[in-house]
Structure formats: structure tokens, C-alpha cells
């Protein structure tokens, strides 16, 4: 006797239930109940969920069947989706592989000075460079430099793609309220979804051995600030200055390149800074889907309960985070200084 038998009896559906009943899968809970004997105490009345209804009528699917249905549905469209998405995203795999191989191949005594020079050019700050020298020395000393380079390679590729893709999207949003209203919910979703959750459809779509799997996860997560702040920055450009650009006959392109982007640059740079920091956060999580680098070691530390391994790698991540943040913030304040 199941709780909801009466419902199907009353509706005259008993015949139909019996005719369409699937193979009866008895859950562990039901088995336990059986061994304890039937109990129909009022306080144990179950909610009419799929499982409870299935007990009464075999034709109703169980919750487990439902998730399985979803899964088969997804697997069915997977082929079609892959056909479109694979060629589109393949360059991402090549770029990530390329960057990892390229930076991995440069010997440390060449790569470190290159990074220092690049940081000096961008930030114009000797302090930051000194901090970098110390950090790299530590990382080299404890044999974590290779992983650091892997992490940095992934971040660079993803950040470049975020800017290249995000800037035009932000510009389009700033030019049209309609586009803005359509894209903002997508950005909100990307930002509010817990990062684990959107790894799931990606795992279904792509093989876990493909670098583009974690590349896409990082880009989707990190592209949001650069898009948002480009849109905001251009919308905040002084109306009078935009009007002067129009009054002197600038074309839309002249106005965009000569007025709007330069005046929005402080905001755009703030967006790039956040994008870089979010790439770093995501590249660590993406080690779950085989992203190489320091995150892999952190994961190893968690999985194998190896405190030391996780701790050193985590410390390396902190150092990188500080370096990336300081370098981009220094560049940002230089832009700001040029404006006011």
C-alpha cells in the first residue's frame, strides 16, 4: 500500500498504471521501510513527489528517471552542438597549447628578465620589480617556477581573448540601450553562477583532455568586468565633449577612437585589472578540469591531504595575485594621472 493509491483509484487510472508500469526499482529507503513493516503514521505522509507517486502508480517516472532523461537529452544534442562549437573553439586550444609550450620552452634565465622588463614598462615602478625578483627567486628555489609559468601562460591567453572579445561587446552595449538590456542579464548570470556549475555543461561538451575546456570556463567567468566597465566607461564620457565631437563633424569611428575610448580608458583599465584577477581565481578552480599550473598542486594537496604541497602552491598563487594586481593598478593610475 502506498500513500497515494487512493488518488489513482479515485481517478480511475489504476488500469493505466498497471499497464504502463515500468520495471519497479525499489529504492534503499523503501527497502528499509519494508523491513521495518508498513507504517502509515500521519507524520510520515510524504510530499506527492515523483518518487511517492511512482510508489502508487508505476506509470509515473521516478526522479532518477527524470535526471537520466535530461542527461540523454543533452547527450542527443551534444553531437550537433559539438559540430558547431568545436571548430569555433579549436583555436583556443591551439593558443593555450602554444602559449604553454612557448613559455615552457624559454629557459628561466631569459624568461625572468623578460617578465621583469615587461612589468617595468607597464608599471614604471621599481618597487614592484623588486617584489617580483624576490617572488620569482622563492618560486624558482622551491621548484615551482614551471607551474607558475603555466598559470601565467593560461592567464595571458585568456585575458587577451577577454579584452579582444569583451571590448567590442562593451562598445556595442554603450551604443544601444537595446543591446545593453539584452546582455546585462547574461553578464549577471555569468557572475552569479557558482563557478563549479558552469563547468558541468562544458564537461559534457568537450573532452576533459582539451585545453579549451578550461579556457572557455576561465573566459566566461573573467570576461564580465571588462565588458561591464567598457560599457559604463563609454556611457560616462562627458556629454558635452561627445557633443563637441559631433559638432566638429567627427565620424562615429573618429569619435570612438579619438574621444570615447581614450576618455573611458581609466574604467576600461579597471575592468582589465578585474578580468586578470578573475582569470587567476578561475585558473585555480579549473585545475579540476585538468588546467595545469599551480592550481593542480593545490588540488593535489586537497585530494591527498598533503598540507605542504597545497600550502606552497597556494603561497605561489598569492604572490602572482599581488604581482598582477600591482602591475595593472600601477598602469591604471598612470592612465588616470594623464587624464586629470
Amino acid at each position: 500500500m502506498a500513500t497515494y493509491d487512493f488518488l489513482f483509484n479515485a481517478l480511475g487510472l489504476r488500469e493505466w498504471c498497471n499497464a504502463h508500469a515500468g520495471e519497479k526499482i525499489t529504492g534503499l529507503a523503501a527497502l528499509l521501510k519494508k523491513t521495518k513493516g508498513e507504517s502509515n503514521a500521519w507524520h510520515e505522509t510524504p510530499f506527492p513527489s515523483l518518487n511517492a507517486l511512482n510508489d502508487a502508480c508505476g506509470a509515473i517516472p521516478r526522479s532518477g528517471d527524470f535526471t537520466r532523461m535530461l542527461e540523454t537529452g543533452f547527450l542527443n544534442i551534444r553531437g550537433g552542438l559539438k559540430l558547431v562549437l568545436d571548430p569555433l573553439t579549436q583555436p583556443l586550444s591551439w593558443m593555450l597549447d602554444g602559449a604553454l609550450t612557448l613559455f615552457g620552452a624559454i629557459p628561466w634565465f631569459i624568461l625572468v628578465p623578460l617578465l621583469l622588463i615587461a612589468a617595468l614598462l607597464v608599471s614604471r615602478s621599481v618597487q614592484i620589480v623588486i617584489f617580483m625578483i624576490i617572488s620569482f627567486a622563492i618560486l624558482l628555489f622551491v621548484d615551482h617556477f614551471e607551474m607558475t609559468v603555466e598559470t601565467l601562460s593560461i592567464i595571458s591567453v585568456c585575458t587577451v581573448i577577454c579584452v579582444v572579445v569583451g571590448l567590442p561587446i562593451g562598445i556595442a552595449m554603450s551604443k544601444s540601450d537595446r543591446v545593453q538590456n539584452a546582455i546585462i542579464p547574461v553578464l549577471d548570470m555569468l557572475q552569479t553562477l557558482p563557478t563549479f556549475v558552469y563547468l558541468i555543461p562544458l564537461i559534457f561538451l568537450f573532452s576533459i583532455t582539451e585545453p579549451k575546456l578550461y579556457g572557455i570556463a576561465i573566459i566566461l567567468y573573467a570576461i564580465v568586468p571588462v565588458v561591464r566597465l567598457t560599457n559604463l566607461g563609454i556611457r560616462l564620457v562627458d556629454r558635452d565633449v561627445k557633443e563637441a565631437a559631433d559638432a566638429f563633424g567627427m565620424s562615429d569611428m573618429q569619435k570612438l577612437l579619438g574621444v570615447e575610448i581614450p576618455l573611458a580608458l581609466p574604467n576600461i583599465m579597471a575592468g582589465v585589472n578585474q578580468t586578470i584577477m578573475m582569470s587567476l581565481a578561475m585558473v585555480v578552480i579549473a585545475s579540476l578540469v585538468s588546467a595545469p599550473g599551480l592550481g593542480e598542486r593545490v588540488l593535489q594537496g586537497i585530494n591527498n591531504n598533503e598540507l605542504g604541497v597545497g600550502f606552497i602552491a597556494g603561497f605561489g598563487i598569492v604572490l602572482i595575485a599581488i604581482i598582477l594586481d600591482r602591475v595593472t593598478k600601477a598602469a591604471l593610475s598612470r592612465v588616470n594621472a594623464a587624464h586629470h
Binding site: V241, E243, A244, D246, A247, F248, G249, M250, H339
Partner: protein
């Protein structure tokens, strides 16, 4: 009065702000009021049946209180704002028929603009700001810089070429704005409250600078202000705007002596008439002379200077000359009469 060629002409211009302006146009033409349009239909009547001719080489001043539609009007001339109805003719050509490309050409080389809040590019030097128009036209850097330097020099900014706008005072920033408009070499110059943001002393010196430039350049200037003193100082032709329509327009001295609306009487009430009115506006024909003249004055002399000349004596009379020829006669008694306001302001019209 003037027979210079008409450079810019506005005909039957209407502007209604809102989501569906066309559907209220007919009602507005039939006399639907600004308040009714706002309250019943949630549209704003910006401009109503504007007809103004702006002559070549003259300064046309458009004056009105804040919100009277001055900025809206001047922005129609280079189509920063599109009209709801009417015509805008520049050199006899219908500007509204221009495509995007022709419109940009018009803005690049035939009309320049000076803004109330300067609107300079903060990230470019003074020199680059001044050279904006030819740069937009795509001219050579060397010629742009040469031209920009020339005009910066002319507005008194020699030596500031490599500064950035934020390093300059408001008055100097507006000199850059003026140089930018002049560097474009456009025959028409639009100035929207160009001096309103400046301190009184600096404002006066900018007005003087503009008048001095104008004696050489003879541009067609459309100048917007809410300040009557400024309007009277600069205007060859004065247009007075109220709630989006033209209350009165004409020769400024004429308007001062014959205001046709309480709104204008109110405007002119506070003005120092002796300083503003000129002999030419109140003189009589030379053959009407009853008294033997005590001296000679010029048509452009202000009444204030004549009073000083007469030492306050109201029995004197003067012969009026222009370019060395006798053109009229001035009795001090008539002069004193002209100093008295025609009507007292009507209650409730006065702002504040």
C-alpha cells in the same frame, strides 16, 4: 536696416520633445499650449514657429531666460537636434536634405561651435585641441599645428600650446574653445552661452576679444546668452525667445526703445539705458534742428558720453555725424526722455 546677404535662415521651425512628436504637431500649430502639451500628453514643446534670418558678417544674439529654448534652437543649425517641422537654410541650401556625409562636411568646414562648458578634450594638449577641426578633416599635421598656433596666438595663449586644459583657468580654457572654432576657418560660428560660465571681468574681456576679432574676420556669429548687457554689447540683430517662441526680434536699440511685450519690458527694466542707448537710435532729422548745435557727437556714441559732454545741461543740442557727414540732430531734452522707461513692469512677469 542691414542689407547684408542672408547666411542662415530658419523658417517655421517647430520642435516637440517626446516619444511621438509628429502626432501633436498639428495641435501645437492650432495653438495647443506648452503646459497643456506637457500635462495632457507628456511631450515638451521646445520651439514653436521660429522664423529668423541671420545675415552674413553680423552677430545675431538669441536671448532668453533659462529653459526658453536657446540651446535647442542653436543646435538645430548644425542638426545636433533634428526639427519636428520647418526649414533650415544655410547659404540657401536646405540643411535638412543633407545626407550624413554632407552634414559632416558642413560641421567640419562651414560651421564651428563654442560651448558653455568649453568641452575640450582633456587628454589632448591645448595645441591638439585647437587643431581639432582640421584634424577631423584629415589635413596634414604640420599645417594643422601651424594654423592652430596662429589662432592660439591671436586669442592670447602663446606659450600654452603644450599645456593640458585642466592646467588652465576657465577663461583660458574658453580661449582654447574660441581658438578651436577659429582654426576650423568656418564662416559661421555658433556660440552657446560661451561666456556665461566665466567671471564678470573675464567675461567682459572675452566679449571685447570677440568684437575685436569680428572687425577683422566678419564671421556670421550666432551668439546665445541670458544676459541683456551682453546681448546689447554684441548684437547686430537681437532675437528674444520665451517658452520656445520669438517674442520680438530686430535691431537691439529699437527693441530697447520699443519693447512689445511685458516680458521684454521686464528684461530691459534693470538696464542702464544711458550706457546702452546710442545717439543714432534717438536722433532726429538734421533739418528738424531748432537750436543752434553746441557741438558734434557721433551716431555710435552712448547717451552716457553725451551727458558727460553736456555736463548734465539739458538745454544743449548737438549735431550728429557719421563718417564725417552730418546725419542728424540731438536735443538733450529728447535724450532725457529716452532715458525714461516706456512702461513700468507688469506684476508677476518679473522673474524672482
Amino acid at each position: 536696416m542691414s542689407d547684408a546677404k542672408i547666411k542662415v535662415s530658419i523658417k517655421n521651425l517647430y520642435k516637440i520633445f517626446g516619444t511621438d512628436p509628429q502626432s501633436y504637431l498639428e495641435a501645437v500649430k492650432q495653438g495647443l499650449s506648452k503646459t497643456d502639451l506637457k500635462e495632457k500628453h507628456n511631450h515638451v514643446l521646445g520651439l514653436k514657429d521660429i522664423n529668423v534670418d541671420m545675415r552674413e558678417g553680423e552677430i545675431t544674439v538669441i536671448m532668453g531666460l533659462s529653459g526658453s529654448g536657446k540651446s535647442t534652437l542653436i543646435r538645430h543649425l548644425n542638426r545636433l537636434i533634428e526639427p519636428t517641422d520647418g526649414q533650415i537654410l544655410v547659404d540657401g541650401e536646405d540643411v535638412l536634405a543633407y545626407n550624413d556625409d554632407k552634414l559632416r562636411k558642413l560641421r567640419q568646414s562651414r560651421m564651428s561651435m563654442v560651448f558653455q562648458k568649453f568641452a575640450l578634450l582633456p587628454h589632448r594638449t591645448v595645441l591638439d585641441n585647437a587643431g581639432m577641426a582640421p584634424r577631423v578633416r584629415g589635413e596634414q599635421k604640420a599645417t594643422i599645428d601651424q594654423e592652430a598656433r596662429k589662432w592660439l596666438d591671436r586669442v592670447g595663449l602663446k606659450g600654452f600650446e603644450n599645456s593640458y586644459p585642466h592646467q588652465l583657468s576657465g577663461g583660458m580654457q574658453q580661449r582654447v574653445g574660441l581658438a578651436r572654432a577659429l582654426t576650423s576657418n568656418a564662416p559661421i560660428m555658433l556660440m552657446d552661452e560661451a561666456f556665461s560660465a566665466l567671471d564678470p571681468l573675464i567675461r567682459t574681456s572675452m566679449q571685447d576679444l570677440l568684437l575685436e576679432l569680428q572687425t577683422d574676420l566678419h564671421k556670421t556669429i550666432i551668439f546665445i546668452t541670458h544676459d541683456l548687457d551682453e546681448a546689447l554689447k554684441l548684437a547686430d540683430h537681437l532675437v528674444i525667445l520665451k517658452d520656445g517662441y520669438v517674442v520680438q526680434q530686430g535691431e537691439p536699440q529699437h527693441i530697447l526703445l520699443n519693447p512689445n511685450d511685458p516680458y521684454i519690458e521686464d528684461f530691459v527694466a534693470d538696464i542702464n539705458r544711458a550706457r546702452v542707448l546710442r545717439v543714432g537710435s534717438i536722433m532726429t532729422d538734421a533739418d528738424h534742428a531748432t537750436n543752434e548745435p553746441d557741438g558734434v557727437v557721433q551716431t555710435r556714441d552712448t547717451l552716457e558720453s553725451v551727458i558727460a559732454l553736456a555736463g548734465g545741461d539739458t538745454n544743449k543740442a548737438y549735431r550728429v555725424e557719421e563718417d564725417g557727414k552730418t546725419v542728424g540732430h540731438l536735443e538733450m531734452r529728447d535724450l532725457v526722455r529716452a532715458l525714461v522707461r516706456p512702461h513700468a513692469p507688469v506684476d508677476g512677469v518679473r522673474a524672482s
